[in-house]
């Protein structure tokens, strides 16, 4: 065969291989999603949201406590993590813009984003569970907040940097002090971006399991007390899926379906906002 033919054949083979790789990857991913969808919808009962868990083997139990607990933990994590993240990002992009310390913190935050979440769980255990002597909801919320802070901080920094510098100069020229410029001009210009970052960070922590296993632990009963162990959806999924009962497995699928749907909805919403605002 001549050289040209060989080159064409080689190209064809390589392209077929990468197309196959793409379909191989997509195949698994669609497989997982459809499995969660089918099993999840099939196991979805109204009792899942309205009832608390029943003793093992007795039908009719639900995961009301876990839904409420998850909401509480995520809510407090957001309340702790978002202000720290937004303010920290403000410092990096405004007061310390372009300085070495800003670059250093930015790099450190990028690394923190990917630090194993279970390590953060052990940290929260050491500072908030051990001194108290028992698992508690606050430790879980703090662990999730620690995961959130670098994410929110970095998006805030990026979003504030997108606001044109001339806009600030215009405000300075009117005699406004820097804090007023930041709050009334820069924040306003970057609001959608920051909000999207917050949304995506909530989506990120809502599915976290590992840092909750030994901080907020789990609770078979309905509880609103953050000073006690509190149930969460993800920890319940882990416990139910590893358990021996079919009823538990069905509830784990249903809970997985709900949590996946929630996270995908937030992620899509975030992407839509970005697309709409930064086109």
């Amino acid at each position: 065969m001549n050289l040209e033919g060989r080159r064409k054949l080689e190209s064809l083979m390589a392209l077929i291989l990468s197309t196959l790789a793409a379909f191989f990857g997509l195949f698994w991913l669609i497989f997982i999603l459809s499995d969660v969808l089918i099993h999840g919808i099939g196991a979805l009962r109204i009792s899942l949201f309205l009832n608390d868990p029943t003793p093992a083997g007795i039908a009719g139990g639900g995961l009301r406590n876990a839904f409420v607990g998850q909401l509480l933990i995520t809510l407090f994590a957001t309340l702790i993590g978002v202000p720290v993240g937004v303010l920290g990002g403000t410092f990096l992009a405004e007061y310390a813009r372009g300085t070495k310390i800003s670059q250093f913190i930015s790099i450190l935050a990028d690394i923190m984003v990917s630090v194993p979440s279970i390590v953060i769980g052990t940290f929260a255990y050491a500072i908030l569970v051990r001194p108290v002597g028992h698992f508690n909801g606050w430790a879980g919320a703090v662990a999730l907040a620690i995961i959130m802070i670098p994410v929110v901080l970095r998006t805030t920094e990026d979003m504030l940097s997108l606001v044109p510098w001339t806009l600030r100069e215009a405000a300075f020229a009117l005699g406004a002090p820097y804090y007023k410029v930041i709050i009334q001009v820069v924040y306003r210009g970057a609001a959608t971006g920051i909000l999207t970052g917050i949304l995506l960070s909530i989506a990120r922590v809502a599915g976290e399991t590992a840092p909750l296993l030994f901080t907020s632990f789990n609770n078979a009963y309905f509880s609103l007390d953050m000073n006690r162990p509190i149930a969460s959806l993800t920890a319940s999924i882990f416990q139910y899926a590893m358990g021996p009962y079919d009823d538990w497995h069905a509830q784990a699928w249903a809970a997985s379906f709900v949590i996946t749907l929630f996270i995908l909805a937030i992620t899509i919403l975030g992407r839509l906002i970005i697309k709409w605002r930064y086109k």
């Binding site: 197309t19 997982i32 007061y95 769980g121 500072i127 002090p177 632990f217 699928w253």
Partner: protein, 313 residues
């Protein structure tokens, strides 16, 4: 530009508050490191560094702990996962940037990013309920019948295929990191200037030659960063493997055996640790994992900065 503004009292306090908020990041990193050091002090004192890292003994009853089995599990599952994920992800990136019609590029890109957002516990549970039975019934026996007969490779596929083993865990891990690696590789590929590609096409190169000789050399740093970031993520992944690895502290040559990773041991044993030295050793494991992933991620970040500098030039 001055970091702290002194002209105005409110401005001064606001800049101070934001400075403190950003310092929490440094505080957290040092705090995590110091706390893990302090908590694992008992174990560091008793077992030392080299002995702890090389001992295969993990025996809570005799209170003798070594990390070699879990480090082995972590390294093997991560390596296998990358072995499957990287070629697939690069294939996906090539497909999305060069092969697929424009109409498909958007949807596939979105699908990849959505899949990266699915929490790892979903992957883990799916692995336990769906993949593990498939593995033990079809895939693993088939592998044993074919590859298991080979002289040297064969030892990798020994044992009863139960589906709860290193192989299944690695496959789930790889499926989980594929979207992540693919999306970074795709972004790196997209940075290749169209003009360079077009000049290559103009002198009559084939599509594969453009990918191989223009795009890959141009974006290799970006792809490398993507692989390093995926490595960091795979090292610390807990829930995707916790369901199907079995938490069995042993070093085994066969992939069809249960094993343990650092993360899986932590997830399974942390709440059960009944003695101080047991808990301290678990903290020691967490410390090893923290240092390991921190180093990997820092190296990745270093090359990313280098890559960004190159592309912006």
């Amino acid at each position: 530009m001055p970091i702290i503004y002194r002209k105005n009292a409110i401005d001064f306090s606001f800049s101070l508050i934001t400075a403190l908020a950003s310092l929490t990041v440094i505080l957290l990193v040092t705090g995590i490191f110091a706390t893990l050091m302090r908590e694992s002090f008992l174990s560091i004192q008793k077992f030392g560094v080299v002995r702890f890292l090389t001992s295969t003994d993990w025996n809570p009853v005799k209170e003798s702990f070594g990390a070699a089995t879990t480090i082995y599990g972590t390294v093997v599952t991560t390596f296998l996962a990358l072995l499957i994920a990287v070629p697939t992800a690069v294939g996906i990136a090539i497909f999305v940037t060069e092969i697929s019609p424009n109409l498909l590029k958007g949807p596939i890109g979105i699908a990849i990013e959505l899949l990266a957002a699915i929490p790892s516990i979903i992957y883990g549970m799916w692995g336990l309920f769906t993949l593990a039975p498939l593995m033990s019934r079809y895939i693993e026996p088939a592998l044993q019948k074919s590859l298991g007969k080979l002289p040297l490779l064969g030892s990798l596929f020994q044992g009863t295929p139960l589906g709860i083993d290193i192989f299944t865990a690695s496959v789930i891990l790889s499926i989980m990191i594929i979207p992540f690696t693919a999306s970074i590789s795709r972004d790196a590929f997209n940075l290749t200037p169209a003009v360079v590609k077009e000049s290559a096409y103009a002198i009559g190169t084939t599509k594969w030659e453009v990918v191989k000789d223009v795009i890959l050399p141009y974006s290799k740093l970006g792809v490398f960063v993507g692989i390093a970031l995926s490595l960091g993520r795979a090292l610390g992944e807990t829930m995707a493997v916790a369901f199907v690895l079995g938490n069995n502290h042993q070093i085994t040559s066969s992939l069809f055996q249960a094993a343990a990773t650092i993360t899986v041991s932590l997830a399974n044993e942390f709440t059960e640790a009944d003695s101080d030295i047991y808990l301290s050793s678990l903290f020691y494991l967490a410390l090893v994992l923290f240092v390991l992933s921190f180093v990997v991620l820092a190296v990745a970040k270093f090359f990313l900065l280098k890559a960004e500098r190159r592309y912006s030039r």
